[in-house]
Symmetry: C2
Amino acid sequence: MGVNGVTEHRNGWPPGIKRTKQREAVLSVLERADGPLSAVDIRARTESDGDGVWLSTVYRILETFVNKGIVQRLAIMTGDMAVYELNRSGHRHYAVCVGCRKIISMDNCPMERFIPELADGAFRVTGHNLEVYGYCGDCDGYN
Amino acid sequence: MGVNGVTEHRNGWPPGIKRTKQREAVLSVLERADGPLSAVDIRARTESDGDGVWLSTVYRILETFVNKGIVQRLAIMTGDMAVYELNRSGHRHYAVCVGCRKIISMDNCPMERFIPELADGAFRVTGHNLEVYGYCGDCDGYN
DNA sequence: ATTACTGCAAAGCATTTGCAGACTG
DNA sequence: CAGTCTGCAAATGCTTTGCAGTAAT
């Protein structure tokens, strides 16, 4: 599989991270994800894959991955669970449907050209987060 | 849409909302706020003002205000508490300092001119949320 | 062998909810 | 007066943490 260019760890393993069955399972889930996943989602998918990973371990692995820059924790507030995604090179943003809570990925980032504008003042920009809210095709018209 | 909106509580109170001492206290805090506040912040400020409001009541009031469109719940994930702000007409976005967690407001919204682009597909945009991360003047250089 | 990681249980903490009394319109 | 709102307490649910055994380098 792997249509996507996950940064460097193609043939092996991200450097500086101990390789364990559980971490492989979590990374594998994230690589195959179609959108951001919560810790609970990830745990469920590892179970479907045959390698159950304990929930607290999933949280610890995610924390490690985030610290290493492999994974990104998004700020989408759909419900109250944090969601995570692989930190792919060309980053994405998401549109959240207020009707059905579906998360739709937006391919391009309209912010790219504006970051320079913001960087002029006394603030060095290192990243950003954008979510768009609204109604998807299925839910529009009912609201 | 585009109606002059919620900013109508000129003679003191938004329409359609029962007026209680606690709601007045919360609204007053939000009106004087210099930035987004958490429920705990709000509760603390009502205490300083002399009118303590119970925390669960603050949450219920905020929920009511959000439903009425008076208040907005942001998706800033500084720590793990939700933060709220008055839904002022010209809306704002915030830059969050990764060093000291300070929240700096950005006066203009770079997204305004891009929402139309997004609205083309099967998605009707009703709102959006943007946060920029980086280092503020005080923290830059130390990281 | 040394050090880090995981399963598990239990604690933490923000937020929500149930209920009886108090208050608003 | 009827219906809503609040104080309070207890519950809920996501996330974190402590510990002892296990696995990786």
